[in-house]
Symmetry: C2
Subunit: 201 residues, 2 copies
Amino acid sequence: MDQRLKSELTRQLILNESFKLFYENGFKTTSVDKIMKATNLTKGAFYHHFENKKALGLAVIGLKLQKRVYEAMVAPLYGSGDALEILKTIFSVRLKSFTVYEKQHGCPANNFINEIGDQEFAYQNALKRIIEEWKSALVYVLDRGKTEGSVRKDICSKSVAVYLISAFEGVRGLRKLYDNDLILDEYISGLSLYIKQISAS
Amino acid sequence: MDQRLKSELTRQLILNESFKLFYENGFKTTSVDKIMKATNLTKGAFYHHFENKKALGLAVIGLKLQKRVYEAMVAPLYGSGDALEILKTIFSVRLKSFTVYEKQHGCPANNFINEIGDQEFAYQNALKRIIEEWKSALVYVLDRGKTEGSVRKDICSKSVAVYLISAFEGVRGLRKLYDNDLILDEYISGLSLYIKQISAS
DNA sequence: TAAATTATATACTAGGTAGTATGTTTTTTT
DNA sequence: AAAAAAACATACTACCTAGTATATAATTTA
């Protein structure tokens, strides 16, 4: 097989298995051994593709995680349609459509943030980039809403963006403690009140 | 020295040092060895006072953590004064008064929730108790506000409680990524909008 | 005061950890 | 086809991990 392609496939395999194991068991307690056992490859392959575990962590955050957040939470914000409807879809409809697995293990980004967001500057920065990208998209859609007359002009877009992200990440943590969706339903009801508050009219 | 007292002091010392190390470095990566080094005692003492690390974790959550949350976030809700003023104080004023250390490492409860809230039923339950106690107090103060006419009667207290807790815990995680309070200020501004929405008049 | 109990210390086990050194195999280049 | 380089495997090191076994010191009880 073409060496370039084979190498890239292996790299992606390691990144994917890492993401999965980090998500299920945490970053710090997932060992390189466990990851490579999941890939059916060995340590030699790992250290050929990554300098060390920290480099792997940064690659998972900067590639896999960032891409997932972008596709699920950021890109839809740049789509067409009523601004407030888009917000409702992203912050509540999406939430209910998660699988049990996703509800149980919370938000991958939030897990990383809470586990290693206070440990290493490099991790901090990589994670910050994801949040800032998300925040910018929210500010964009809120400003658009203001222009189109659906969003109140006297609210601060940045503040609303931060409050929306905070509540979303917060409840994805809380949901881990329960075995049903009650807390999600309450969150959604609480959120709809907030969206009403920022809507014009 | 009285043996009862001495034993209790040792137990509390272990619990306190554990809490601190769990807070700074996480639960799973804080070893019994590190804890006992911090206490200047040895492993023999540890396993005399605790059956294993899991029992220690549950004790830290059920005693230290629950007490801290109760004193800082729950008890004030049962105090006198305007309901909405109490909410503002707890969810925004308090936030700004945290030390750099507390801002950097986030919310101890949220850290536990995100690290081990999806791992063991026993941890889940111990953490759930803390959240439910907090939620109940919030529902109490919101209902009181309704009675006194300061809070809108058509809002669901439980939903507002969950949304308030979610946003608070969420932003305490996000703050880890930054080295200044901008995100906290934005959160507070976003929160004040929410409190306006639930206020009568 | 002697015996029993409690509190703590020391030394150990079995297994997990990140990372390295050095192989062998596969692919590419000359 | 030979040489070089890349991809991966195997075997290792030094250290950390939870937990145990057993000793000693301090305190309480008989």
